[in-house]
């Protein structure tokens, strides 16, 4: 009897077991990024920049050269890497606290300069690592450790829609928001990541994929409920789709 391999782990990831909570979609997103790097055969020519938050240890998991950045500063670090090594693929992997709060300036200016880098932006509406505090992306009414009575717009203001904002910048070449709440959407997420790296390969400028993600631990939901929560509560506020495509077409 001959055995046929129908599924194997991507070479884009190392063998280290990840530390992510059960039901967290970071693992899925890591795999998608790893698969894209493997399929494009660019793993050896890629430098990743890890950020601060749950994904800080992503430098242990991606099977390429990795540099760890200070909180929010990954796009600035990536700029430094890419400007010295324009022929390498450079990406950042950042959460919503890191990118949309403390690092909003760095990501905006990287896009405005048209830095030829790819930003993987994982949005789960909350600070995971520090114990579930409000992020700029926290939904109105959402309870977190620092909005125990729910996010109140008269106190904490309104969520930032990062893709919509970034798409206004002329230097941004490709901006898409995708989700991980079911298999078809995970497939679309992989296509978006591929598109972003292809954009970088063509030298078109800044590319970013915002990926709606879960945080069962800090949302107080089980993994299945969390996926439903993304679909029912996040997608209506953060509509999926391509927000910027300089190249045109789909």
């Amino acid at each position: 009897m001959t055995m046929k391999t129908v599924f194997k782990k991507t070479t884009g990831l190392t063998d280290k077991p990840t530390h992510y909570c059960p039901g967290c979609t970071h693992g899925v997103i890591h795999r998608l990024v790893g698969e894209v790097l493997e399929e494009m055969d660019i793993l050896e020519d890629t430098v990743g920049v890890a950020s601060v938050g749950c994904s800080v240890l992503s430098y242990e998991y991606f099977n390429c050269d990795m540099t760890q950045a200070a909180h929010g500063r990954a796009p600035a670090v990536a700029t430094g890497v890419k400007r010295v090594l324009p022929n390498r693929f450079v990406f950042t992997y950042q959460g919503d606290g890191d990118l949309a709060s403390i690092g909003i300036s760095e990501v905006i200016h990287a896009a405005a300069r048209g830095e030829n880098i790819t930003v993987i932006f994982v949005n789960n509406t909350i600070y995971g690592m520090t114990g579930g505090q409000m992020a700029p992306t926290t939904l109105i009414g959402q309870k977190t450790a620092t909005t125990p009575f729910g996010r109140d717009i008269s106190i904490q203001g309104l969520p930032i829609k990062v893709c919509e904002m970034m798409a206004t910048l002329d230097g941004a070449a490709y901006i898409e928001r995708v989700s991980t709440h079911d298999v078809p959407h995970i497939q679309k997420t992989k296509k978006a990541i591929r598109k972003a790296f292809e954009t970088q390969k063509k030298g078109l400028g800044f590319s970013m994929v915002e990926i709606l993600s879960t945080c069962p631990t800090n949302w107080g939901l089980d993994p299945a409920e969390s996926l439903e929560w993304v679909k029912d509560n996040m997608v209506p506020v953060y509509p999926l789709g391509v927000y910027k495509n300089k190249e045109g077409g789909k």
Partner: protein
């Protein structure tokens, strides 16, 4: 190449280019803006890159990114902007990345003013950012010395995988003097196998990080850092002495203040006062040796600074109670005059001004 007349800030920039620095990430701030502007014009000529960052914070993190690829890279700022870079500098130390950071110090605290000061001494010599660390700090007193020390700064950075600070005051940045640049034949950039440039051909992923979640592992990492700092203390102390062999009184000053103090010493010597100067060139590691050699027979030391008294703490530690340590300083951008320092020498030596 003959002598050229240049401004201090431009000398730093040109010396960096001579040291093989091709990447500069900066942000405008007075009184160091000429350095940034010079780099913007000069680096493209040598196939390098100048990029104006959106903030000092972004600039130091771009430096971090460029340094992680193994190239010689630099940023510069002045006091308030330097404060903003402290987080990034701590990361450079933690991740052991070489870079040169220039601080052309101005009056503080807060926005202060744009006049010359030395009041960032504590900040640059005592760590400055979070965590246990020290950074080599070089403080030139003339524009020709800037040429030498800028090149030294890049060599030290590479040799020890550490950021190095070049500290001047606003006056040094703004003054003009003739300087001569020489290619340094012994400037040999170390091989940087650790650099994250992609894994092609080297067999496996390399990681640059300052994170170590396990306490014992972080302690080990910190011990290694401390051993490195000990090696730097052993090998990279720089200072100059002036008339200290027979000195009964020793002035201590660095940078511009040392030059003014030297003139005051010359005048006091004419009046028969046996006074000399210790000029620290490396502010960290602080030169203890000339104090240990003189403290048994010197009647008093005087630290002269453009601050309310910061280096004086290191002077006291080096003198270790063997002699009194006095102080003269001006702050807020006021530069002490030769006459003021002369008067201080006369007072301390118990003489009377003629």
């Amino acid at each position: 190449m003959g002598k050229v007349l240049m401004k201090g800030n431009e000398v730093i920039a040109e010396a960096a280019v001579h040291a093989g620095c091709k990447y500069f990430f900066g942000y405008p701030i007075t009184p160091q803006s000429e350095l940034v502007a010079y780099m913007a014009r000069r680096l493209p000529e040598v196939g390098g890159l100048f990029l104006q960052a959106e903030s000092e914070i972004a600039a130091i993190n771009m430096v971090y990114g460029a340094a992680s690829t193994g190239v010689r890279v630099m940023t510069s700022s002045s006091s308030p902007g330097f404060s903003l870079k402290q987080e990034g500098i701590s990361y450079l130390v933690g991740s052991e990345l070489p870079a040169v950071i220039c601080n052309i110090v101005r009056g503080g605290p807060g926005l202060g003013n744009i006049q010359p000061a030395q009041s960032d001494y504590f900040q640059v010599t005592k760590g400055g950012g979070h965590g246990d660390y020290n950074i080599p700090v070089l403080a030139p007193a003339s524009l020709q010395e800037i040429v030498e020390l800028t090149q030294d700064a890049f060599d030290i950075a590479d040799r020890y995988r550490t950021p190095v600070i070049l500290m001047g005051d606003g006056m040094l940045g703004q003054m003009m003097e003739p300087v001569e640049f020489s290619e340094r034949s012994d400037t040999e950039q170390c091989k940087k196998e650790w650099a994250t440039t992609g894994t092609r051909g080297d067999g496996g992923p390399k990681i640059i990080t300052s994170l170590e979640l396990d306490a014992e592992s972080l302690e080990l990492r910190n011990r290694n850092l401390q051993q490195k700092f000990a090696r730097i203390k052993e090998n990279e102390v720089r200072y100059e002495t002036y008339h200290i062999d027979d000195a009964e009184y020793i002035m201590v000053a660095f940078g511009t203040t040392a030059r003014i103090t030297m003139n005051a010493i010359n005048k006091a010597r004419q009046d028969g006062v046996k006074v000399g100067l210790i000029r620290p060139i490396s502010l960290w590691p602080f030169p203890e040796k000339p104090f240990i050699e003189t403290r048994e027979h010197v009647k008093a030391y005087v630290s002269v600074e453009m601050s309310a008294g910061q280096m004086i703490e290191d002077v006291r530690l080096a003198v270790s109670g063997h002699a009194p340590v006095d102080f003269y300083g001006r702050t807020g951008g006021v530069v002490p005059t030769q006459e003021e320092i002369y008067d201080k020498i006369i007072t301390v030596s118990g003489g009377v001004t003629i």
